[in-house]
């Protein structure tokens, strides 16, 4: 967000990120597919950390700054963050064909694995060890989501709304969804438009 105005003038490319010049890039959509497939298969409990290692450190397809920029755009848009990240990275190298290839690389094999696990779980769910293992993993999954929320909450300190308003909007969302169980559509439309308007007036 802290880019200087002149940075905008250096963006002739229609893609989300400027086209790479003289740096490493995937040689073919197949290579794009294979790298995304490999990073997805290493991503237990989330793909983001592995994506950073593979795309920035190992292949060098993105600089760290480009990765952060792509991620912040991916997070603002609806949809799974890592899937949006795959779309944008693929789009950058091979246009929409690359976007589809990168997304397929990340999803196809993991989808097969998880559906085989789901089918197997249906067969063996009556075994106490199997249902117990999943109950334990469920508690951990809940803890992982809560920890992620608490880590990300630290970023609200830099939000232009200011911490008190952020806490107000965040806790109203929690109460409306977790306790009152209101439909998400209404909550996001109602609270979201108030929050965006508040941010607008603070930024102006």
């Amino acid at each position: 967000m802290g880019t200087r105005p002149e940075d905008r003038d250096r963006k002739p490319s229609p893609a989300a990120l400027p086209a790479p010049v003289g740096r490493s890039a995937p040689r073919s959509p197949l290579e794009l597919y294979l790298v995304f497939n490999r990073l997805a298969l290493q991503g237990f409990g989330g793909v983001l950390a592995v994506a950073q290692i593979e795309l920035v450190e190992r292949t060098g397809w993105l600089t760290r700054a480009e990765f952060v920029e792509a991620l912040s755009v991916a997070q603002v848009l609806p949809g799974p963050n890592v899937c949006n990240l795959a779309l944008m990275t693929g789009d950058r190298f091979f246009g929409w064909r690359g976007a589809v290839t990168a997304l397929a690389g990340m999803m196809l094999v993991p989808l097969l694995i998880v559906l085989v696990l789901a089918a197997a779980y249906g067969h063996w769910a009556h075994l106490p060890a199997v249902s117990g293992a999943l109950r334990g993993m469920g508690a951990v999954a809940a803890g992982l989501v809560i920890a992620t929320a608490l880590k990300l909450a630290r970023a609200l300190k830099a939000n232009p709304l200011g911490l008190p308003l952020c806490l107000a909007f965040g806790s109203s969302t929690f109460v409306a969804i977790a306790l009152a169980r209101l439909p998400l559509v209404w909550v996001v439309c109602a609270l979201g438009s108030v929050a965006i308007t508040a941010a607008w007036s603070k930024l102006r």
């Binding site: 967000m1 409990g45 848009l77 899937c83 559906l115 977790a178």
Partner: protein, 178 residues
Amino acid sequence: MTSLSPSDLLGLFSHFLVLSLLAVGGAITTAPDMHRYLVIDQHWITDAQFTASVALAQAAPGPNVLFVAVLGWNVAGPVGAAATLLGIMLPSTTLALWAARWGAKRRDTLAVRAFTAGLAPLTIGLLLATGWVLTDPARGHWELLALVALTVAVMLRSAASPIWMVAVGMLAGALGWV
């Protein structure tokens, strides 16, 4: 697993189509609404099945959004998985490609910055709500609540990969400790 009528399948698909566009901050932030729809309103799956689906997808490699396919699988088998996964993916991927190109050129404008800043606290609130819904089966069982708390503490205090905590949870559950 039940077999759904074509109109129920269409309803399932369109519910996830709408959720896709609301999933700012990731598909997991819409989990409470999926729970409300699938478990409370439609009674297609149980509370335990819901949490197990999320846990299974978290334990498997790959993007967390695949829990949506497992939910669909538990509702109506392969057709259900196709309905929920295509529903949650199609609108957001189309929008992401288009908007990333559009927004990259305008990311210093007031409108884009107000949008980002305004939705940020909602995203955090939604993530916490998701964590709350996932602890539903643990409420009243102190061992499970302790495991939730241990996971939060470990993830906040160390850089350990989540896979270790998933393994701890799996082992503790299989041995009947939780």
